[in-house]
């Protein structure tokens, strides 16, 4: 029981990170129908930006308040990552809109390879680890000499994710931009006819996706304290799995899917085999796509002539 609860806490934490990345996949797929393969690497880049921002704040500017540092790091990472994703969309995806179906995907794969190798060349191939940003934990209860704990890090991840998801939900459902996004998702031509700037809306979608990925990147860095240039691929595929599991195109689905993937992975590692945890995630992806391609909350993909 106590072991189970602990794994539940860990799984939800991991799932929050996956959920934040998954929203990026699902939004981009919803609006332009492409799998943004480079999104995992955008997440990795954001973790690097967060790392550099954190080092500047703590070692050069001498900020001692961790809360303030974390807040600034979050803002910096979100800003720069958004800019990067905005440029990526402009350069690598926009010219391909209306091209043949696989062209944007291949371009995105190229971009993914480029980003991870760019970081490798620019920052070196070694793992970058930082001293723990946040330490300490609550002991929830103690049973059979096993203390179930909720660390401050996990609490921060939960609350930051929750706050940002609320803000994001408000953005999509209540604002002009969100309305424009949903309109473009349904019919781009019609949206353009009623005066929506489709290009700008798509750009903003990439910006928002990157901002959420940057939150995930910062949380990832804070949670694990280490990041390397190759850290984008596997979390990226897992977050994509989460998006597919929740039903691609569905925003609540991405969050639920992220939590499910986080839980599946954590429980799989805890009870079965830690070596095969990635196999579990990849199998979930394959099984979902084969048996439930529309996901938990998605609309079925109707093929029309």
């Amino acid at each position: 029981m106590e072991y189970f609860v602990q794994q539940l806490i860990n799984g939800i934490t991991l799932g929050s990170i996956y959920g934040l990345i998954a929203i990026g996949y699902t939004m981009v797929f919803g609006i332009i129908g492409m799998v943004n393969f480079a999104h995992g690497d955008v997440f990795m880049v954001s973790a690097f930006i967060a790392l550099i921002a954190f080092l500047i704040l703590t070692t050069w500017l001498g900020i001692t308040s961790i809360a303030l540092a974390l807040f600034i790091v979050l803002l910096v990472a979100m800003t720069f990552t958004s800019l990067i994703n905005w440029v990526i969309e402009r350069v690598a995806y926009r010219p391909l809109r209306g091209s043949f179906r696989l062209a944007p995907l291949i371009s995105a794969i190229g971009m993914s390879i480029f980003l991870s190798n760019f970081v490798q060349v620019a920052q070196g191939p070694r793992n970058k680890s930082i001293p723990p940003m946040v330490q300490g934990e609550f002991v929830l209860f103690n049973q059979n000499n096993f203390a179930v704990t909720l660390s401050y890090k996990q609490l921060i991840i939960w609350s930051v994710t929750a706050v940002l998801l609320l803000a994001f939900w408000y953005l999509v459902t209540k604002t002009r931009l969100g309305r424009a996004q949903r309109a473009c998702e349904q019919d781009q031509k019609m949206a353009a006819l009623v005066g929506i700037d489709v290009d700008r809306t798509i750009s903003m979608t990439f910006v928002i996706a990157a901002a959420l990925a940057a939150v995930a990147g910062t949380m990832y860095l804070m949670y694990y304290g280490v990041v390397s240039f190759s850290d984008g691929f596997v979390p990226g595929v897992k977050a994509f799995t989460a998006a597919v599991l929740g039903g691609i195109g569905s925003l609540p689905g991405a969050v639920v899917g992220g939590l499910l993937i986080g839980l599946i992975e954590t429980f799989w590692s805890a009870y079965f085999s830690i070596d095969y945890k990635d196999v579990a995630a990849f199998s979930v992806l394959a099984i979902t796509l084969i048996f439930l391609p529309q996901g938990l909350f998605g609309r079925p993909d109707v093929e029309k002539v």
Binding site: W60, L83, I106, S112, V244, D275
Partner: protein, 461 residues
């Protein structure tokens, strides 16, 4: 991007403004990752240093590139687009088209002998092994994947899994049962194509992006199993001492019944390399030959029909299940051949050789060459694999950039960049062939642009 992109005549001031804006964006873009460097010091702490000059160089190059693009390149392209296109292609194109393939085949057949007699056994190894064999392996893999991606239009991101199946089949069967290369080569191909069918079955209903991602997942699963099933595959450590292929039972070693001794030659490791070169050349040409012939058979035509429009295909009574499965099986079989050759050549395999990057490389070769084009694959493989081998040889760059400069680390960086640029510039690849194979009276040229390929969003509504 900017306002200058639309108008034909661009004034220098506008281009400058545009370049300045681009420079500003580039500054923000490169500031975190180029402007700062995180390094680990002796105390194992991360320290931060700045690289302002490098950042300035990046920003300057980007801004200058933008200026040239807006000021010179765009007007030039606009002028060129207005020029009338000559109706008849020049006569030399016909000669090149007729003679290119025979000349190329003659060249690759003579190539190792030429190298052997000019450079001798010492210096020739690099040119035959690193350039010849390495490129030919990728040409073969590219041709194999071309069946799946180029002809049948099924984007397979896990192709390297079949390469791995071939390699491990050869390695394990040769080491366990002591079977020879020539027995195991077809067996590895058959086993791989079984895997192709096995993995093809569940994904039959999926199309496009989804198919790509599931094949990626399968590829990764196979690699993770190879890593973790230590009892069978020896995990990360890999399999060593895989038997080498023999020449009609004669091993390529210094022993009395070895190849060199039997033919009365002085022993040289180069003989084996030349032999391997001809083996992979034969295998690659076989792949090409089979593909070209299959394209003219009903199954090949069904593949291409499937690529163009799956619904129309089904309406015409083509069995899409069989069509897809044969494409997977054929592609996987050639990957299996290439895999067992790879294991025999290296005599050592480990899961490290079968990562996603390898799949992406093969895919890049097919895509950059032009999906469906056999010549395109060759050109792309020579450029990309030969290019990355050349990067290894560029020692003079160390004189410019300092002794720590390692050109090979830029290999994948350039790969990724090339993939994006080629997609933006020519989404159909360098050599875009959509030449009709069936025609009534004369061969008419058709546009290389797709007839009808909707973007996935339109299918969602």
């Amino acid at each position: 991007m900017g306002p200058g992109a639309q108008s034909e005549r661009v004034d220098a001031a506008g281009a400058l403004r545009d370049a300045a804006l681009t420079g500003l964006i580039a500054f923000a873009l490169f500031l975190p990752l180029i402007g700062f460097l995180t390094a680990v010091n002796i105390g194992n702490d991360l320290i931060l240093t700045t690289r302002w000059p490098l950042l300035a160089v990046f920003v300057a190059i980007t801004a200058a590139g933008r200026f040239v693009y807006v000021f010179a390149l765009l007007p030039w392209l606009a002028r060129r687009a207005q020029r009338p296109v000559p109706a008849e292609p020049p006569a030399w194109r016909g000669y090149v088209a007729n003679w290119f393939v025979p000349c190329a085949i003659a060249f690759v057949v003579v190539y190792p002998l030429f190298i052997f007699f000019t450079l001798g056994s010492g210096g020739g190894q690099k040119w035959i092994d690193n350039f010849g064999i390495q490129i030919l392996i990728y040409v073969m893999l590219g041709w194999g994947l071309n069946i799946v991606v180029g002809l049948a239009g099924l984007l397979d991101l896990g192709y390297v899994a079949f390469y791995a199946v071939g390699a491990y089949s050869y390695a394990l069967l040769a080491k366990t049962f002591g079977l020879g290369f020539w027995v195991l080569l077809p067996l590895a191909g058959i086993l791989s194509s079984f895997w192709g069918i096995l993995l093809g079955f569940p994904v039959l209903r999926l199309r496009g992006d989804y198919l790509a991602i599931v094949t990626l997942a399968f590829g990764e699963i196979i690699r993770l199993v190879l890593i973790n099933w230590v009892a069978l595959t020896n995990g990360y450590a890999g399999i060593i001492g895989i038997p080498r292929p023999t020449f009609f039972g004669m091993p390529f070693d210094a022993s009395d019944h070895g190849f060199a001794a039997v033919f009365g030659l002085q022993f040289s490791p180069l003989y084996r390399i030349i032999f391997l070169y001809y083996v992979i050349l034969a295998l690659a040409l076989l792949t090409c030959f089979v593909t070209v012939r299959l394209r003219r058979l009903p199954i090949g035509r069904a593949w291409e029909a499937l690529r163009e429009d799956e619904i129309a295909c089904r309406s015409l009574g083509i069995n899409t299940t069989n069509t897809k499965l044969t494409a997977f099986a054929m592609g996987a079989m050639f990957a299996g051949f290439a895999g067992s050759f790879f294991a025999a050549r290296e005599a050592f395999i480990s899961p490290e050789s079968f990562t996603f990057i390898e799949s992406a490389t093969i895919l890049a070769i097919v895509v950059l060459g032009g999906m469906g084009s056999q010549i395109g694959v060759v050109i792309a493989a020579i450029v990309m694999i030969g290019g990355s081998e050349l990067l290894r040889q560029l020692d003079f760059l160390k004189d410019i950039f300092g002794p720590t400069f390692d050109p090979t680390q830029y290999r994948m960086l350039l790969f990724g960049l090339a993939m994006v640029l080629i997609m933006v510039w020519r989404p159909r690849g360098l050599i875009a062939t959509r030449a009709p194979l069936v025609f009534l009276k004369g061969r008419k040229t058709i546009s290389a642009d797709p007839v009808k390929e909707r973007h996935a969003t339109e299918g969602l509504g």
